[in-house]
């Protein structure tokens, strides 16, 4: 049985008296410990799917099941212990006036969990930050360090599923590599399931087992990783994304390993 089952999901926003269908009958399933990628341009509905799972978008059709159960609305506490989200912009997603300690211990306080001290230190160590960072504020950290804090916060309640919304697109290339490596290590260590959104096909390819290409809120194509690597896509749109991907230029010449 799949861990995440999204069936015929439709999300409709009302803007200026006009209905905008941001997600139109999208279905997908993600198995436990799988890493699933959503790719598409802005406005393709990829982030909206993640937000709909979290109950932050107006779902007007279809069902979302986690572990076989239809999600209640509002989502409730049980949901946040299973599913957590990491957002794109680490400059905007951390409270500027809360210390890292407060940011990380808030989920514990809400859920009435004990062992706050050890858990915060453990969470920081897990994401490769020194424990002394507890007493810093977000503005005292670099972008990559902030994103590590955001990941640590998402993992505080030991969820099974991480929803990753462009987790590295605000970061420099070398920092992106570090954060992607961190995510992969945590997935292996903690047996996490990823549902990841990115506009960068190379990042998605590096991280995910299966990939869904979206356009205008609709599914264009679902591709397995091997098929992507060998350019076996069937739709012209998926191919155009593939061709426009920045790394095509360098992919013809294999890098000397050093």
């Amino acid at each position: 049985m799949s861990l995440i089952e999204v069936d015929n999901l439709t999300v409709t926003f009302r803007a200026k008296g006009r209905d905008v269908r941001a997600v139109d009958s999208v279905s997908l399933t993600v198995g436990a410990r799988e890493s699933y990628g959503l790719v598409g341009e802005s406005g393709s509905g990829k982030s909206t799917i993640l937000r709909a799972i979290c109950g932050m978008a107006p779902v007007t059709g279809g069902t979302i099941r986690i572990g076989g159960e239809v999600l209640p609305t509002p989502r409730g506490r049980a949901f946040s212990t299973r599913v957590q989200m990491v957002f794109q912009d680490p400059y905007a997603s951390l409270h500027p006036r809360h210390t890292i300690d407060r940011t990380l211990s808030e989920p514990l306080a809400i859920h009435g969990l004990p062992g706050r001290d050890t858990r915060v230190v453990q969470a920081l160590t897990d994401v490769g930050l020194p424990p002394a960072f507890r007493f810093r504020y977000p503005h005292q950290l670099s972008g990559g360090q902030r994103q590590r804090v955001a990941i640590a916060r998402a993992l505080m309640l030991k969820p099974q599923i991480l929803l990753l919304d462009e987790p590295t697109s605000a970061l420099d290339a070398s920092v992106q590599a570090e954060v992607l490596n961190l995510l992969n290590r945590l997935r292996a260590e903690q047996g996490l399931t990823f549902l990841m959104v990115s506009h960068d096909l190379a990042v998605i390819d590096h991280m995910c087992d299966r990939i869904m290409v979206l356009q205008h809120g609709r599914t264009v194509e679902e591709i397995a990783r091997d098929d992507l690597a060998n350019a076996r896509m069937t739709t012209p749109y998926a191919r155009s994304l593939f061709d426009a991907s920045a790394d095509r230029m360098l992919s013809t010449t294999p890098e000397p390993s050093r």
Binding site: E41, S42, G43, G143, D172, A173, S174, V175, Q176, A177, E178, L180, N181, N184, R185, H199, D200, L201, A202, V203, D205, H206, M207, L228, A229, N230, S240, L241, F242, A244, S245, A246, D247, R248, M249, L250, S251, T253, E255, R258
Partner: protein, 280 residues
């Protein structure tokens, strides 16, 4: 003949802990070509671009041995002379449309403002020209966008409006600071081909500032790689893969690749002497 000549450019900020040099002795010359400047955040690439237009505000200071544009000395030009250059002869596309467009003016008014004041065009002519410019950057419904306020546009649309605005006066040199970072890959390709066309057809010079090494390599003729305010390497874009400097190589290698190996990505090794050399 070179359009822009820069020798030993330095940008200094005086802080409580003493002067900090954001740009430390950058030299380059630019003809009618596409020059890429690449580096990570804090490498001084944006400061280099802004210094050319003397857009560094106090307490920042710009010094250079030589900085000339088309034979004109930029270092000793008066503010008035600089104003005549900015926009009209040297355009600049800034990074973030959210902060660079006026939030309380419609796009149409912002686009036509220069045409009406500088070029003394009538309302109808200015509007027609602005719509043509929006058309040129592939905005599908230019008449609607003209009426819109910046917050009603997506990031990609805002960025294209910025590019359209900078291209209206047909500058000789365009400094584009991360012009496509907010755009989708397919739109990115369109914007790049627009810029490319301008360089080719009108002989415009282009300084393309980006953190994306692969994009710059694909698009530019020459690439300057910057690290901590210093140009560590200059390569012809076609030979980027043969780049020698460990920093350039590190930047290239830490990027994931479609169909690449699944193991951990190599991090950037900052232990070399280059990383700490002359650091402030």
């Amino acid at each position: 003949m070179s359009l822009l000549e820069v020798k030993n450019l330095r940008v200094t900020f005086d802080t409580e802990t003493g002067p900090v040099q954001a740009v430390r002795g950058v030299s380059f010359s630019l003809g009618h070509e596409r020059l890429g400047i690449v580096g990570e955040s804090g490498s001084g690439k944006t400061m280099t671009g802004r210094a050319v237009l003397r857009l560094i505000r106090p307490p920042g200071r710009v010094d250079a041995d030589v900085m000339t544009f088309d034979g004109q000395d930029l270092l000793n030009a008066t503010e008035r002379e600089m104003r005549a250059l900015r926009g009209k002869r040297i355009g600049m596309v800034m990074q973030d449309p959210k902060y660079s467009l006026n939030p309380v003016m419609t796009v149409g008014r912002q686009l036509t403002e220069g045409l009406r004041l500088r070029d003394k065009l009538g309302r109808a002519d200015a509007t027609a020209k602005a719509i043509a410019a929006l058309d040129a950057v592939q905005i599908r419904d230019p008449a609607r966008v003209m009426e819109a306020y910046p917050h009603e546009l997506s990031g990609g649309m805002g960025q294209r409006v910025m590019i359209a605005m900078m291209l209206i006066p047909e500058p000789d040199l365009l400094i584009a600071d991360e012009p496509t970072s907010a755009l989708d890959v397919t739109v990115q390709a369109e914007v790049l081909s627009i810029l490319d066309g301008l360089v080719r057809d009108r002989g415009m010079g282009l300084i393309f500032i980006s953190h994306d090494l692969r994009l710059v390599a694909r698009f530019c003729d020459r690439v300057l790689v910057m690290h901590k305010g210093v140009v560590v390497e200059e390569v012809a874009a076609a030979n980027l893969l043969e780049a020698k400097h460990p920093y350039t190589r590190g930047l290239l290698n830490c990027l994931p690749r479609i169909g690449g190996p699944r193991g951990p990505l190599p991090g950037l090794d900052r232990s070399g002497a280059w990383a700490t050399e002359g650091a402030p």
